[in-house]
């Protein structure tokens, strides 16, 4: 399994994604430069967190036009898996890979802390190693993470099981207090209709070792590895 980590100017979780994949999953990882058109044969593409192009216009708004994104979109259209984290989620929404948008946090401040997420679907290639309703601890770190979509889109996401993670309290309850940015319906992560693009504001690559706070992001990486192995086997 080969993981391509996209490097935009201003990406800053690219190294963390690399260490998560290489040190903790034991897979191969390469960096793909934003000016290039080469995914270097990656099976899985990670759009990492950060502030691509400074996010000065709107998070992700410039990054979607970078040369490498044409290849990422083509990879996704071929059914290739894409894991879009934080700024990556914002870019994926801007690029039309995922529905909806990430707005400025309701309290208008950046927020960094461990949050609790409930796994809402395990019928995805990203979450097969979790169990349904499992509560996991994964940190958030963002200023623009308020997931928003129109009513029809939200209904479709819910109906099709595309809501994958929701912000909850430690007991697994959906509450306003547990929602760090006032996302609609406490949505923290979604997949596209085809199920091969996951966007999430929390950082699973930061939750790979209990010494740094949590290892609850590891099953996500292992689920992906499983799904890619199954494809090769098929």
């Amino acid at each position: 399994m080969r993981v391509g980590i996209i490097r935009f100017p201003g990406s800053n979780c690219d190294e963390d994604a690399y260490h998560a994949v290489v040190d903790h999953l034991g897979a191969e990882a390469v960096f793909c430069w934003h000016k290039d058109h080469d995914l270097q044969g990656a099976d899985l593409v990670i759009l990492p967190g950060g502030f691509s192009y400074g996010d000065y216009l709107r998070p992700g708004a410039i990054a979607r036009f970078s040369p490498i994104m044409q290849e990422v979109v083509a990879h996704a259209q071929r059914g290739g898996p894409v894991l879009a984290i934080c700024n990556g989620f914002q870019i994926a929404c801007e690029a039309g890979l995922l529905p909806g948008a990430l707005l400025r946090n309701a309290h208008l401040r950046f927020i960094c802390e461990q949050v609790h997420l409930r796994v809402e679907s395990i019928a995805t290639r990203f979450t097969s190693r979790y169990h349904i309703g499992q509560v996991v601890r994964i940190p958030v770190a963002h200023g623009d993470g308020r997931y928003t979509a129109d009513a029809d889109t939200l209904e479709r996401l819910e109906g099709e099981g595309q809501v994958v993670f929701r912000y909850v309290d430690a007991g697994g309850h959906v509450t306003e207090a547990a929602n760090p940015n006032a996302s609609q319906r406490n949505i923290a992560g979604i997949v596209n209709a085809a199920g091969n693009v996951l966007g999430m504001m929390p950082h699973p690559e930061r939750a790979v070792d209990v010494r740094i706070g949590s290892a609850d992001g590891l099953p996500l990486l292992h689920s992906l590895a499983d799904s890619l192995l199954a494809e090769v086997g098929a």
Partner: protein, 771 residues
């Protein structure tokens, strides 16, 4: 040597005494300049001297004092005088670190002032060849009851967060203190730590005649002109008008510059690199030349600028952010350009290293400034002022804190404890650090809110522990003791996390040093710091001096902030501050005393800054640290938290409830000290004390006894449901956890978000903070 080819430039102002004064140059200094040049300086030269001889760049009032500080140890790879200090850690891995202030800009424009402070300290670290891995900050403001202070506080925090978050360097710790003395003159000190392999260390020394000098990064604009001089004068009402002197930060460009600079350094194409920080192009080029003992020539028409018509004076003194000055190997200009182009950054050759011993600036063919040799840097005057203690402060120190009548409610120590826990200086700063990305780089083992942050170093099992500390009130009331305490407390914090303190960087925030009372504080605080550093074997590897922190209300408390770096040989020794397991014994390392002077208790409950600060014996602190680290090394310590603001009672309460989601209780019996005044025992700030929880108290006491540190079992950790309980002879006091936890955790969010006015019901007056 004739310098007659330097002529006044058409359109530049005439050199008059008024112009010289406006540039902060004294008549005697002006005479020195004329003597050095053998002629009247040009306007451009006046600007250059004004910047380089400002306190901020020249340390002219502090240099003789700073020279007394210890700077050497076997692990010190780079001491003071460079962009940052460097110490060896383990297996060829080293860390570079430095603290710097951005006080004056933040007083005028808090968001950009603080943001660009972070930018500057990042550049100081990565120009050493080190990748930044952690940021910390030390902040001081007036009381939060003032809307202006709330504006400054929230602006500074947002500025720090937005900059560090975007660049992708975690902000992992710091301190925030609220005290009337900082109203109108907040302190914003930022510290950065970077990691490098020892062989990657690069110094900012210009070398090699014929080597090109290259300006890299952002273009030069008119922002921040004379920032260094601005930072070297008192703040006044007119400073609002100096807002344009505050620079504007662009963390995105900084991130590109960081990556490009590290790539450049590793490419071997360059000789030296330095941030164009305070005094911009002028100071970076003059300092690199002075260190290399070579001449340089710079052509201002070659410098990429943002706007048309900038004069040499403006180009030299601009403090536009995110710019670097590079000396490359001759013939490698193209390779340097290629690396920068990859990161969409500009590079322009603007000058070269020359054999002729001059510092020369041209505008095309015309010479607009020329100084002989390196005398521009070396001829700067040094001042020693007659030191004299302020009578008002001596009198304040002489007052007996025990004579202060307690409030009636203080009969219940829990009432007092609750007031202290809700003092914004003591209360949880989670509201602040939640706005900082403390986890990016996935190496933060212990983040904000503990005694020290711990960052792992990838590729080793080692880590560094980082703390930044200071207590201006102690230094005001006794500068020598206060200076010692600042170092010892920072060391204690680092040791509580399991690390051996190794070296410090420091930021000296003081008032106007030309006043004998301020110079007295500066001289004695530095002396006290030196005593502690020598005993603890924590040399000073660099730092920053911020003087003239005054405003119409007077000078700030003299505030040295100490950035301490400690080393953990193994991450197995990382020790948390908070209680962990019900039933563990609570041991007090160190001893309680009757001291109450200069305490947070007196300020918070009685509005007083009086009495002598607690005594500080660096040798005893050294033993305490040795005992603590030996016990931690043997696995005898489950948690360790030092006693500081608010004393023993606050340290116990914090150990029990610093994490809102996992509070514990405790039961302690302090009857052994029943003869001490109760409020001194509970809330006095005697030094050299650490609250430890341990499953093996006997073994811990044995280690302490062998090393000669007083230690006693004072109680045990209980469940949160059991609350807290103090027994002192006949006195006993109990409380549930929740009201105390609420006081600790909800105070700052309540003030900043809840619209609740700052609770100052108990503090009725403020002691004079200066003469």
């Amino acid at each position: 040597m004739s310098q007659s080819h330097v002529a006044p430039r058409a359109g530049d102002p005439e050199i008059t005494p008024a112009l010289i004064k406006e540039h902060g140059i004294t008549p005697a200094e002006y005479e020195r300049v004329v003597a050095m040049l053998g002629r009247t300086p040009t306007f451009t030269e006046v600007g250059i001297v004004s910047a380089l001889w400002s306190e901020h760049c020249s340390y002219k009032h502090s240099r003789p004092l700073l020279r007394t500080l210890p700077t050497e140890a076997p692990w010190v790879l780079q001491g003071p005088g460079e962009n940052a200090g460097v110490i060896a850690v383990k297996d060829g891995i080293a860390v570079a670190f430095k603290v710097e202030s951005h006080n004056h800009p933040s007083a005028v424009e808090p968001y950009q002032g603080a943001a660009t402070g972070v930018g500057g300290i990042l550049r100081d670290v990565f120009t050493m060849g080190a990748r930044p891995i952690a940021l910390l900050n030390s902040l001081r403001f007036g009381p939060l009851s003032s809307p202006r202070v709330r504006y400054l506080f929230s602006g500074v925090v947002k500025g720090i967060g937005d900059y560090g978050n975007c660049v992708g360097v975690p902000t992992v710790g710091g301190e925030v203190v609220f005290d009337p003395s900082y109203e109108g003159n907040p302190l914003v000190n930022a510290m950065c730590v970077g990691v490098l392999r020892e062989e990657e260390l690069i110094r900012a020394v210009a070398e090699g005649v014929g080597n090109p000098i290259i300006a890299v990064g952002a273009r030069t604009g008119r922002d921040g002109i004379h920032g260094a001089s601005f930072a070297s004068e008192d703040l006044s009402e007119e400073n609002e008008a100096k807002r344009p002197r505050v620079q504007v930060g662009d963390p995105f460009t900084e991130k590109l510059l960081l990556e490009a600079s590290l790539e450049l350094i590793r490419s071997g194409h360059i000789v030296a690199i330095q941030d164009m920080g305070a005094a911009g192009l002028t100071s970076s080029s003059a300092e690199m030349a002075a260190r290399g003992d070579v001449g340089v020539t710079i052509d201002t028409t070659k410098v990429p600028v943002r706007e048309e018509g900038m004069t040499p004076y403006e180009i030299l003194l601009s403090e536009s952010q995110e710019r670097m000055l590079v000396v490359a190997h001759k013939g490698r200009e193209e390779q340097v350009r290629e690396i920068l182009a990859r990161w969409d950054l500009e590079a322009a050759v603007i000058g070269e290293v020359i054999a002729e011993p001059v510092y020369r600036v041209t505008e095309g063919d015309r010479v607009v400034a020329e100084f002989p040799g390196t005398r521009l840097v070396t001829d700067c005057p040094v001042y020693t002022i007659e030191a004299k203690e302020s009578t008002a402060l001596a009198e304040a120190r002489a007052r007996d804190p025990h004579a202060v009548a307690p409030h009636e409610e203080e009969a219940d120590p829990i009432w007092t404890l609750e007031r202290l826990l809700s003092s914004p200086t003591i209360a949880s700063k989670a509201w602040v650090w939640r706005q900082y990305d403390s986890m990016v780089r996935t190496s933060t083992i212990v983040g904000p809110g503990s005694d020290a942050a711990v960052i792992r170093l990838r590729g080793t099992d080692a880590g560094v522990a980082l703390s930044i500390d200071g207590n201006g009130r102690y230094v005001a009331l006794d500068p020598r003791v206060g200076g010692r305490i600042a170092v010892c407390e920072a060391a204690r914090n680092v040791a509580c996390s399991g690390a051996r303190p190794r070296a410090i960087t420091n930021n000296l925030n003081f008032g106007n040093p030309t006043r004998p009372e301020v110079y007295y504080q500066l001289a004695n605080a530095v002396a006290g710091m030196g005593e502690a550093c020598r005993t603890l074997e924590t040399p000073v590897t660099g730092g920053n001096v911020s003087l003239y922190n005054e405003n119409p209300q007077g000078a700030i408390h003299p505030t040295p902030t100490i950035g301490m770096v400690g080393v953990l040989d193994s991450l197995d020794h990382v020790t948390p501050s908070a209680f962990q397991v019900e039933g563990d014994a609570i041991v007090l390392l160190g001893d309680n005393t009757a001291e109450l002077g200069a305490s947070e208790y007196l300020l918070r409950l009685h509005g007083l800054a009086i009495g002598a600060p607690p005594a500080c014996d660096p040798a005893a602190e050294r033993r305490l640290i040795d005992a603590l680290l030996e016990a931690i090394g043997h696995g005898l310590v489950r948690s360790a938290h030092d006693c500081s603001d608010g004393g023993l009672a606050v340290a116990l309460a914090e150990s029990a409830m610093m994490h809102r989601d996992r509070t514990m209780g405790f039961q302690v019996d302090l009857t052994d000290w029943a003869d001490l005044p109760l409020r001194a025992l509970l809330f006095g700030e005697a030094q050299g004390r650490v609250v430890i929880s341990t499953p093996t108290p006997d073994a811990l006491l044995e280690v302490a006894a062998r090393i000669g540190v007083p230690a006693r079992v004072i109680g045990r950790v209980t469940s949160a449901a059991e609350g807290v309980e103090f027994v002192i002879g006949a006195v006993s006091a109990r409380s549930a956890i929740e009201p105390l936890a609420k006081a600790f955790h909800d105070t700052i969010p309540g003030i900043m978000d809840g619209g609740a006015p700052a609770e100052h019901a108990v503090a009725t007056s403020h002691a004079p903070t200066t003469d």
